[in-house]
Protein backbone atom coordinates (compact mmCIF):
# COMPACT_ATOMS: atom_id res chain seq x y z
CA UNK A 1 0.00 0.00 0.00
CA UNK A 2 1.39 3.40 -0.97
CA UNK A 3 2.30 5.41 2.12
CA UNK A 4 0.48 8.72 2.19
CA UNK A 5 2.74 11.78 2.45
CA UNK A 6 0.77 13.11 5.38
CA UNK A 7 1.44 9.96 7.36
CA UNK A 8 5.14 10.84 7.28
CA UNK A 9 4.29 14.14 8.95
CA UNK A 10 4.93 13.09 12.55
CA UNK A 11 8.32 11.54 11.73
CA UNK A 12 9.42 14.58 9.73
CA UNK A 13 8.27 17.04 12.39
CA UNK A 14 10.40 15.28 14.98
CA UNK A 15 13.49 16.07 12.91
CA UNK A 16 12.46 19.66 12.31
CA UNK A 17 12.72 21.03 15.83
CA UNK A 18 16.48 20.73 16.21
CA UNK A 19 17.47 24.42 15.73
CA UNK A 20 18.62 23.96 12.08
CA UNK A 21 15.29 24.68 10.49
CA UNK A 22 16.42 27.05 7.68
CA UNK A 23 18.71 24.75 5.65
CA UNK A 24 16.24 21.91 6.13
CA UNK A 25 13.37 24.10 5.00
CA UNK A 26 15.19 25.44 1.92
CA UNK A 27 15.96 21.88 0.82
CA UNK A 28 12.34 20.96 1.39
CA UNK A 29 11.17 23.57 -1.17
CA UNK A 30 12.43 21.44 -4.06
CA UNK A 31 12.08 18.00 -2.51
CA UNK A 32 9.22 15.92 -3.99
CA UNK A 33 9.67 13.40 -1.15
CA UNK A 34 9.12 15.98 1.60
CA UNK A 35 5.88 15.92 3.55
CA UNK A 36 3.99 19.14 4.04
CA UNK A 37 1.84 20.57 6.78
CA UNK A 38 -1.23 22.39 5.37
CA UNK A 39 -0.17 25.71 6.90
CA UNK A 40 3.43 25.40 5.69
CA UNK A 41 2.44 24.63 2.11
CA UNK A 42 -0.17 27.41 2.14
CA UNK A 43 2.44 29.92 3.34
CA UNK A 44 4.99 28.84 0.71
CA UNK A 45 2.42 29.14 -2.08
CA UNK A 46 1.33 32.53 -0.73
CA UNK A 47 4.86 33.94 -0.81
CA UNK A 48 5.64 32.48 -4.23
CA UNK A 49 2.56 34.28 -5.53
CA UNK A 50 3.69 37.57 -3.98
CA UNK A 51 7.20 37.32 -5.47
CA UNK A 52 5.77 36.43 -8.89
CA UNK A 53 3.32 39.35 -8.65
CA UNK A 54 6.08 41.80 -7.76
CA UNK A 55 8.35 40.61 -10.58
CA UNK A 56 5.61 40.72 -13.21
CA UNK A 57 4.37 44.10 -11.98
CA UNK A 58 7.85 45.65 -12.11
CA UNK A 59 8.59 44.07 -15.49
CA UNK A 60 5.35 45.06 -17.19
CA UNK A 61 5.49 48.55 -15.82
CA UNK A 62 9.07 48.95 -17.12
CA UNK A 63 8.49 47.59 -20.68
CA UNK A 64 5.62 48.91 -20.57
CA UNK A 65 2.77 46.51 -21.28
CA UNK A 66 -0.55 48.29 -21.60
CA UNK A 67 -4.08 46.92 -21.59
CA UNK A 68 -6.40 45.00 -19.28
CA UNK A 69 -5.55 41.75 -21.10
CA UNK A 70 -2.24 41.71 -19.25
CA UNK A 71 -4.11 41.31 -15.96
CA UNK A 72 -5.62 38.11 -17.34
CA UNK A 73 -2.21 37.03 -18.61
CA UNK A 74 -0.75 37.63 -15.16
CA UNK A 75 -3.49 35.58 -13.47
CA UNK A 76 -3.02 32.69 -15.88
CA UNK A 77 0.79 32.74 -15.64
CA UNK A 78 0.95 33.06 -11.86
CA UNK A 79 -1.64 30.31 -11.37
CA UNK A 80 0.27 28.16 -13.83
CA UNK A 81 3.49 28.68 -11.88
CA UNK A 82 1.78 27.75 -8.60
CA UNK A 83 0.15 24.69 -10.14
CA UNK A 84 3.42 23.61 -11.74
CA UNK A 85 5.22 24.01 -8.42
CA UNK A 86 2.90 21.97 -6.22
CA UNK A 87 1.88 19.39 -8.84
CA UNK A 88 5.13 18.85 -10.75
CA UNK A 89 7.94 19.91 -8.37
CA UNK A 90 6.50 18.98 -4.98
CA UNK A 91 4.15 16.32 -6.37
CA UNK A 92 1.67 16.79 -3.52
CA UNK A 93 -1.70 15.11 -3.48
CA UNK A 94 -3.99 18.11 -3.70
CA UNK A 95 -6.85 16.18 -2.09
CA UNK A 96 -4.93 16.17 1.19
CA UNK A 97 -4.82 19.97 1.12
CA UNK A 98 -8.39 20.80 0.14
CA UNK A 99 -8.17 20.35 -3.62
CA UNK A 100 -6.77 22.46 -6.46
CA UNK A 101 -9.06 25.38 -5.58
CA UNK A 102 -7.73 25.72 -2.05
CA UNK A 103 -4.10 25.62 -3.21
CA UNK A 104 -4.57 27.94 -6.15
CA UNK A 105 -6.38 30.58 -4.14
CA UNK A 106 -3.63 30.92 -1.50
CA UNK A 107 -2.52 34.55 -1.59
CA UNK A 108 -4.39 35.19 -4.85
CA UNK A 109 -6.10 38.46 -3.95
CA UNK A 110 -3.05 39.92 -2.20
CA UNK A 111 -0.89 39.00 -5.18
CA UNK A 112 -3.34 40.60 -7.63
CA UNK A 113 -3.35 43.87 -5.68
CA UNK A 114 0.45 43.77 -5.33
CA UNK A 115 0.83 43.16 -9.06
CA UNK A 116 -1.48 46.06 -9.92
CA UNK A 117 0.32 48.34 -7.45
CA UNK A 118 3.78 47.54 -8.84
CA UNK A 119 2.58 47.78 -12.45
CA UNK A 120 0.83 51.12 -11.92
CA UNK A 121 3.67 52.68 -9.91
CA UNK A 122 6.47 51.71 -12.30
CA UNK A 123 4.38 52.66 -15.35
CA UNK A 124 3.49 56.07 -13.88
CA UNK A 125 6.94 56.93 -12.59
CA UNK A 126 9.04 55.60 -15.47
CA UNK A 127 7.03 56.72 -18.49
CA UNK A 128 5.53 60.11 -17.54
Amino acid sequence: MKESKSSKLHVQQQHQHNGDVSPFFMGKLLDPEASWDKDQLGDVLHWIRQVVALIFGLLWGAIPLVGAIWIVVFLVLSSGIIYGYYALVLKVDEEEFGGHGALLQEGLFASLTLFLLAWILVYSLAHF
Binding site: P64, A110, T113, L114, L117, I120, Y123, L125, F128
Partner: protein, 182 residues
Protein backbone atom coordinates in the same frame (compact mmCIF):
# COMPACT_ATOMS: atom_id res chain seq x y z
CA UNK B 1 16.41 66.97 -12.31
CA UNK B 2 12.61 67.42 -12.58
CA UNK B 3 10.54 65.23 -10.28
CA UNK B 4 8.30 62.66 -11.98
CA UNK B 5 4.82 63.88 -12.84
CA UNK B 6 3.26 61.27 -10.60
CA UNK B 7 5.64 61.54 -7.64
CA UNK B 8 2.55 61.88 -5.40
CA UNK B 9 2.01 58.14 -5.85
CA UNK B 10 5.12 57.59 -3.75
CA UNK B 11 3.66 59.80 -1.02
CA UNK B 12 0.49 57.69 -1.04
CA UNK B 13 2.60 54.53 -0.91
CA UNK B 14 4.71 55.87 1.95
CA UNK B 15 1.69 56.92 4.01
CA UNK B 16 0.02 53.55 3.34
CA UNK B 17 3.08 51.66 4.55
CA UNK B 18 3.32 53.84 7.66
CA UNK B 19 -0.40 53.45 8.46
CA UNK B 20 -0.18 49.67 7.94
CA UNK B 21 2.62 49.47 10.52
CA UNK B 22 0.70 51.79 12.84
CA UNK B 23 -2.49 49.73 12.59
CA UNK B 24 -0.66 46.47 13.19
CA UNK B 25 1.11 48.06 16.14
CA UNK B 26 -2.22 49.16 17.64
CA UNK B 27 -3.67 45.70 16.96
CA UNK B 28 -0.71 44.10 18.70
CA UNK B 29 -1.13 46.30 21.76
CA UNK B 30 -4.92 45.88 21.99
CA UNK B 31 -5.42 42.37 20.63
CA UNK B 32 -2.51 40.14 19.74
CA UNK B 33 -0.43 40.40 22.92
CA UNK B 34 -3.41 39.68 25.22
CA UNK B 35 -3.44 36.27 26.89
CA UNK B 36 -7.05 35.76 25.78
CA UNK B 37 -6.16 36.09 22.07
CA UNK B 38 -3.04 33.93 22.39
CA UNK B 39 -4.87 31.11 24.14
CA UNK B 40 -7.73 31.24 21.62
CA UNK B 41 -5.28 31.19 18.73
CA UNK B 42 -3.41 28.25 20.24
CA UNK B 43 -6.59 26.27 20.82
CA UNK B 44 -7.81 26.95 17.26
CA UNK B 45 -4.49 25.84 15.75
CA UNK B 46 -4.43 22.67 17.88
CA UNK B 47 -8.07 21.83 17.22
CA UNK B 48 -7.82 22.36 13.46
CA UNK B 49 -4.68 20.19 13.22
CA UNK B 50 -6.30 17.49 15.35
CA UNK B 51 -9.47 17.68 13.22
CA UNK B 52 -7.45 17.37 10.04
CA UNK B 53 -5.68 14.27 11.34
CA UNK B 54 -8.96 12.71 12.48
CA UNK B 55 -10.63 13.37 9.12
CA UNK B 56 -7.65 11.90 7.26
CA UNK B 57 -7.53 8.70 9.33
CA UNK B 58 -11.29 8.15 9.24
CA UNK B 59 -11.86 9.28 5.65
CA UNK B 60 -13.92 6.25 4.67
CA UNK B 61 -15.99 6.05 7.86
CA UNK B 62 -19.06 8.17 8.56
CA UNK B 63 -18.43 11.37 10.48
CA UNK B 64 -18.00 10.45 14.15
CA UNK B 65 -19.41 12.29 17.16
CA UNK B 66 -15.84 13.12 18.20
CA UNK B 67 -15.26 14.97 14.92
CA UNK B 68 -18.56 16.81 15.40
CA UNK B 69 -17.50 17.85 18.92
CA UNK B 70 -14.17 19.14 17.63
CA UNK B 71 -15.84 21.06 14.83
CA UNK B 72 -18.30 22.68 17.24
CA UNK B 73 -15.49 23.60 19.61
CA UNK B 74 -13.49 25.04 16.68
CA UNK B 75 -16.45 27.15 15.58
CA UNK B 76 -16.95 28.49 19.10
CA UNK B 77 -13.28 29.39 19.49
CA UNK B 78 -13.30 31.10 16.09
CA UNK B 79 -16.36 33.11 17.08
CA UNK B 80 -14.69 34.18 20.33
CA UNK B 81 -11.58 35.16 18.35
CA UNK B 82 -13.66 37.30 15.98
CA UNK B 83 -15.36 38.94 18.95
CA UNK B 84 -12.06 39.77 20.65
CA UNK B 85 -10.78 41.38 17.45
CA UNK B 86 -14.05 43.21 16.83
CA UNK B 87 -13.97 45.08 20.11
CA UNK B 88 -10.52 46.55 19.52
CA UNK B 89 -10.95 46.90 15.77
CA UNK B 90 -12.86 50.14 16.28
CA UNK B 91 -9.65 51.93 17.24
CA UNK B 92 -7.91 50.68 14.10
CA UNK B 93 -10.89 51.76 12.02
CA UNK B 94 -10.67 55.25 13.52
CA UNK B 95 -6.98 55.51 12.62
CA UNK B 96 -7.73 54.39 9.06
CA UNK B 97 -10.49 56.99 8.74
CA UNK B 98 -8.10 59.72 9.90
CA UNK B 99 -5.40 58.58 7.46
CA UNK B 100 -7.91 58.42 4.63
CA UNK B 101 -9.15 61.92 5.49
CA UNK B 102 -5.57 63.21 5.45
CA UNK B 103 -4.87 61.68 2.06
CA UNK B 104 -8.17 62.98 0.72
CA UNK B 105 -7.37 66.51 1.78
CA UNK B 106 -3.93 66.29 0.15
CA UNK B 107 -4.92 64.71 -3.16
CA UNK B 108 -8.60 65.37 -3.80
CA UNK B 109 -9.30 66.11 -7.45
CA UNK B 110 -5.73 65.25 -8.47
CA UNK B 111 -4.62 62.13 -10.34
CA UNK B 112 -1.74 60.52 -8.42
CA UNK B 113 -0.86 57.87 -11.03
CA UNK B 114 -1.56 56.68 -14.55
CA UNK B 115 -3.25 53.36 -15.09
CA UNK B 116 -1.78 51.09 -17.79
CA UNK B 117 -5.29 49.85 -18.53
CA UNK B 118 -8.79 51.32 -18.84
CA UNK B 119 -10.95 50.03 -15.99
CA UNK B 120 -14.68 49.59 -16.34
CA UNK B 121 -17.74 49.41 -14.11
CA UNK B 122 -17.33 49.76 -10.38
CA UNK B 123 -13.53 49.73 -10.65
CA UNK B 124 -13.63 52.94 -12.68
CA UNK B 125 -15.98 54.47 -10.11
CA UNK B 126 -13.21 54.01 -7.55
CA UNK B 127 -10.22 54.71 -9.78
CA UNK B 128 -11.70 57.95 -11.19
CA UNK B 129 -13.38 59.13 -7.98
CA UNK B 130 -13.32 62.92 -7.63
CA UNK B 131 -11.15 63.46 -10.71
CA UNK B 132 -11.96 65.99 -13.41
CA UNK B 133 -12.19 65.02 -17.08
CA UNK B 134 -13.06 61.74 -18.80
CA UNK B 135 -9.68 60.03 -19.07
CA UNK B 136 -10.33 56.57 -17.59
CA UNK B 137 -6.60 55.97 -17.10
CA UNK B 138 -6.27 58.76 -14.53
CA UNK B 139 -5.85 57.14 -11.12
CA UNK B 140 -7.29 58.71 -7.98
CA UNK B 141 -5.76 58.46 -4.50
CA UNK B 142 -8.65 56.23 -3.39
CA UNK B 143 -7.83 53.42 -5.82
CA UNK B 144 -4.10 53.56 -5.21
CA UNK B 145 -4.64 53.62 -1.43
CA UNK B 146 -6.97 50.63 -1.74
CA UNK B 147 -4.31 48.65 -3.63
CA UNK B 148 -1.64 49.67 -1.13
CA UNK B 149 -3.82 48.71 1.84
CA UNK B 150 -4.82 45.34 0.50
CA UNK B 151 -1.36 44.25 -0.59
CA UNK B 152 0.76 45.79 2.16
CA UNK B 153 -1.46 45.03 5.16
CA UNK B 154 -2.13 41.43 4.14
CA UNK B 155 1.53 40.66 3.68
CA UNK B 156 2.58 42.60 6.75
CA UNK B 157 0.14 40.59 8.86
CA UNK B 158 1.60 37.42 7.42
CA UNK B 159 5.17 38.48 8.10
CA UNK B 160 4.36 39.48 11.68
CA UNK B 161 2.33 36.32 12.28
CA UNK B 162 -0.93 38.18 12.82
CA UNK B 163 -2.79 36.64 9.87
CA UNK B 164 -6.01 34.84 10.87
CA UNK B 165 -5.55 31.08 11.40
CA UNK B 166 -6.34 28.97 8.35
CA UNK B 167 -8.22 26.41 10.39
CA UNK B 168 -10.72 28.92 11.73
CA UNK B 169 -14.01 28.66 9.85
CA UNK B 170 -15.36 32.04 8.78
CA UNK B 171 -18.63 31.89 10.66
CA UNK B 172 -18.46 35.51 11.79
CA UNK B 173 -20.05 36.69 15.01
CA UNK B 174 -23.47 35.17 14.26
CA UNK B 175 -23.08 31.54 13.15
CA UNK B 176 -26.07 29.59 11.89
CA UNK B 177 -27.30 26.90 14.33
CA UNK B 178 -25.99 23.42 13.74
CA UNK B 179 -28.78 21.43 12.05
CA UNK B 180 -27.70 18.23 13.85
CA UNK B 181 -28.54 19.70 17.27
CA UNK B 182 -32.16 20.56 16.31
Amino acid sequence: MASPRYADSLVVLGISIASAFLCEGISWILIYRTSNYRSLRLSIDKASKKLETMKTTSAKKPKSKKIDRFETSLKESSRDLSLSKFKSGGVVALVLIIVFGLLNSLFEGKPVAKLPFSPSGFVQKMSHRGLPGDDPTDCSMVFLYFLCSMSIRTNLQKILGFAPPRGAPSTGLFPMPDSKTN
